[in-house]
Subunit: 252 residues, 2 copies
């Protein structure tokens, strides 16, 4: 029976995991993990590197981040429930880093979803950070890799979210177009459907989102517009020894 | 800001939960749970009631089901990994029940995903079973209810699956069309996107599914075609004291 089905030839798989809690179900045989938290942690990370920061240390707890408040050379950033945690000057807003000279600085960051996903997948052979800001640069780099790739959505408090999944669909489409990658999981096909529904206007993701989230997101509209604008950066943050450092793709 | 956003007026929510493991994240304030396992457990349940069975007892383990093998008046059904468990005559194939006279019989059934989802949600105020077979009857009944509704997909071994999610989108669209229900969760919007992508031909779900699953499903093609054919039954299985019994909608 199998012989009767046209089987496309591909060398590696690219799959989508919708929530960090499901990571163990999808992690097997996946050498490269792309952590995605479009609104807003991974967008903020790319923006910070784009503005010169040396490294970002993702931590799980507010307490860990708090130890770095006021320490020379460090920026402590903490977000919970979409807001900057009391006592911190930075949360997960990428615009907080734009236009600043952050050269030589280290950011220590904890967020509700994104840094949690990073810590969940920190033992992957390679872990990189994705956002619309570095969509093309990341996709080009991924196509060059000879390994299976898992696109890990950070979701919202372990729930599925729309913008991370649509972004995963956008990356996946570029990888599938290369002919080098294929998919096996239903979640991957679903992400592609979602991307196809939203592709002409990423801001439509906001409009399509349910009322409660739409309201939350519109209160963040400048941030959200920034986070949904593709290809503002050639930087790909990559995890080395527990710290995110800069990897920069040359112009295509 | 909130006042500036047009807010649709609806009384109740209808939401989608993609996997049984996420049920606790979505269950709050949900009075009615619809358990969905399109391929094939909930389709088999509707088919069994359509063919006269009195009641279905969903059990979690093969051992529980095995006790009923050969007991007069009982049919023991057990499926694991898509196959009938050794020693059983029935698994989760709906076609096994079609054309039989099952009046007066009780089925004791355990399946990989569907009965697990039922047991997860068994404390809901009302629990009913959905499949393409009873799509219209179920949707009509749901629209009459005055309560929040959770569409609980059984998935595949805790992973997201496409056919359950597309079916949830189909039910949701009918509930949204009534104007009585609205959504708050991103998963619900995503299910609607998926349904819109697949609506013209439910068998396209099979074709869209990734290679490995497509092969598995094609081996079940007669079953799959049957499970994806809407509106073959006006029966809605409903849980009462741990047993599924027949509720029948009159013709519209």
């Amino acid at each position: 029976m199998e012989g009767a089905i046209p089987v496309s030839e591909y060398k590696y798989r690219v799959e989508v995991c919708f929530t960090p809690g499901h990571y163990p179900l999808y992690a097997q045989d996946m050498g490269i993990v792309v952590v995605i938290d479009v609104l807003r942690a991974t967008s903020a990370m790319v923006a910070a590197f784009e503005n010169g920061v040396d490294r970002i240390i993702p931590v799980s707890t507010v307490e860990e981040a708090r130890r770095y408040i006021g320490r020379p050379g460090y920026i402590a950033a903490a977000e919970r429930n979409g807001e900057v945690v009391e006592g911190f000057d930075y949360g997960n807003s990428p615009l907080a880093y734009v236009g600043q000279d952050l050269r030589g600085k280290t950011i220590v960051m904890t967020t509700t979803n994104g840094t949690k996903a990073i810590n969940m997948a920190k033992d992957a052979r390679k872990l990189v950070v994705g956002s619309f800001l570095n969509l093309s640069a990341l996709s080009e780099w991924l196509v060059q890799q000879n390994d299976n790739i898992l696109l890990l959505c950070s979701g919202w408090k372990d729930k599925f979210n729309l913008e991370d999944s649509v972004y995963a669909g956008a990356v996946m489409e570029r990888l599938l177009d290369s002919g080098k990658f294929g998919v096996e999981e239903d979640s991957s096909i679903a992400a592609k459907y979602m991307f196809m529904s939203a592709r002409d206007n990423f801001l439509s993701i906001l409009k399509a989102a349910p009322r409660r989230r739409r309201i939350e997101q519109l209160q963040l509209l400048p941030d959200a517009k920034y986070c949904l604008t593709p290809d503002q950066s050639r930087v790909i943050p990559i995890l080395r020894d527990g710290e995110l450092v800069r990897m920069e793709m040359s112009q295509p």
